[in-house]
Amino acid sequence: MSAGDAPAGGDLIEFRDVSIQFRRQKVLRGLNLTIRRGETLCVIGESGCGKTVLLKLIVGLLQPTTGKIYFEGEDVTRMDAKALVKLRLRFGFLFQMAALFDSLDVYDNVAFGLREHAVCGEDRVAKIVAERLQDVGLPPGLEHKKPAELSGGQRKRVGLARALALDPEVMLYDEPTTGLDPIMTDVVNELILQTQRGGHKTGIVVTHEMRTVTKVADRVVMFFPLARVGRGEPQVIYDGPPGGLEDAEDRRVRQFVRGEAGDRLRELAAQARAAGSP
């Protein structure tokens, strides 16, 4: 990559004209997006608009069909396996259902990255694991429980502790509060805030939850599913501060933020009728 291709100074991650499709289904089309160092970006939008895909593209879990993704000026799509491993160690990824390893207990889950990459000896591993579990507010005594024995909120917090174990520079949160009760949702939001502000990390939070957006976001982008975007119309229909969502020019943004079905129910019914007609 020439110097002219690299993203500008404070930009950490850049999506440049990125498209991706799975067999016949296009998910992202011509996406251009920049994520700045140190900011917490919330990505919102309807189900199926490609929010999780966006996170997986950043760490090379998926490859785009076309386009480039840059991290600190390096093209992620052209990295070899070794470079990708190095890149991934700079990220922490909290998966939607936490994705804890079933066969390992809580302690081994949190210690996994430290052991696999031989970051330190077993004494230091034990210390880091204890610290991380304490950071996410898990009481002592849970270390030797298997993920199946934990509640949804506990799993998320163990997932967060595991993601933080290697002290990453960038945190990726995939729907961190999905399936949690309001109190636990607030606990997880507080933990995200604490992680982002306290650790001075860059963060990308994919969520449906407006409480999460208002609590943690420095900036918000809203995607729209390709199926509902006109030809030539950009997929990102809002990019700005969280405070501007309520007064966004685009009616669809306001409807989403207020949780109004609007014309959506009529649209869905029309689609169902069209699909059912010969």
Binding site: R24, K26, L61, Q63, K86, R88, L89, D102
Partner: protein, 286 residues
């Protein structure tokens, strides 16, 4: 393991009517792609074995689950196969006055053919499907993605230990099946059918050579490798949901069993060809 998105061009979503030729073409294309994918998966697994050995704390539980926990089932089925062979063959041999020769027939069948195939089939059924279901569940619950995100190659962490366990432990399970089958056959012949014990064992010793046992054990190595690679590959490529994982588990057993029989045939031919070229005067049917 396919994780990338596919580019099918700008006509994606087009509604051109699909004919039988289209379907046939797609099936051929999918078949070739699948073979290529399994081959790449196998090469990546072998590549990791040469580069880095998994930690003992990862290997030992898998060795235990695959090897130790299969012993009882392999021993029981091995015993019954020997006993069934004895029951089925006794009257024919007895009518020809060859009952004392049954030991040679039963034992050669067991060590060359039934022992290895039986042990491999039990391993495919008990372990292969379980591996595919476990890896399939890990894939659909994003645990495989989590491994990758933590900088660990899922093939190195998940497939390599299972491959090593199947490869290294199946010879022992085969020997176990051979031994129990021999004991079962001998028990029925000498204790139930009244065949003379000395003559039974003498004929067995005269007919079964160490090379016959070795042939069976060598075959089992190929069976073990095939079971591990097919089952792990199916698991990694499992579709979402309970149905997808169930299908992956079923396919792991079916494809492993087909591979076992195919390899049995090919290796039998190869062994016989080699045996006859080395010892032209003897017969060495595998």
């Amino acid at each position: 393991m396919a994780v990338g998105a596919l580019d099918v061009g700008d006509d994606a979503g087009g509604s051109e009517a699909e004919t039988a030729v289209h379907r046939l073409g797609r099936q051929v294309f999918d078949g070739v792609a699948e073979i290529g994918d399994v081959s790449l998966f196998s090469l990546r697994t072998l590549g990791w074995i040469l580069r880095r050995r998994p930690r003992w704390s990862v290997l030992l539980p898998i060795f235990y689950a695959i090897g130790v926990q299969s012993v009882s089932v392999v021993a029981i089925t091995g015993t019954f196969i020997g006993m069934v062979l004895a029951v089925q063959a006794y009257h024919e041999f007895e009518s020809m006055g060859l009952a004392t020769k049954m030991g040679s027939v039963i034992n050669i069948s067991l060590v060359k053919e039934l022992g290895p195939v039986l042990a491999a089939t039990m391993l495919a059924g008990r372990v292969g499907s379980s591996m595919a279901a476990e890896l399939g569940t890990m894939r659909v619950t994003e645990q495989v993605d989590a491994l990758t995100a933590l900088g660990t190659d899922p093939i190195y962490y998940l497939a390599v230990p299972r491959f090593l366990a199947c490869l290294l432990l199946i010879p022992l399970l085969t020997l176990m099946a051979d031994f129990m089958g021999v004991i079962g056959g001998a028990g029925v012949c000498t204790q139930v059918m009244g065949v003379d014990s000395f003559a039974y064992w003498k004929h067995s010793r005269d007919f079964v050579e160490g090379l016959d046992i070795l042939a069976g054990v060598l075959k089992s190595l190929f069976f073990g490798a095939a079971i591990a690679l097919i089952s792990c590959h199916r698991g990694f490529n499992s579709r979402a949901g309970a149905e997808g994982v169930g299908k992956a588990a079923t396919e792991a057993f079916v494809f492993s069993f087909m591979a076992i029989l195919f390899l049995d045939f090919v290796l039998g031919l190869a062994w016989n060809t080699m045996y006859r070229s080395l010892w032209p005067q003897t017969t060495g049917l595998l």
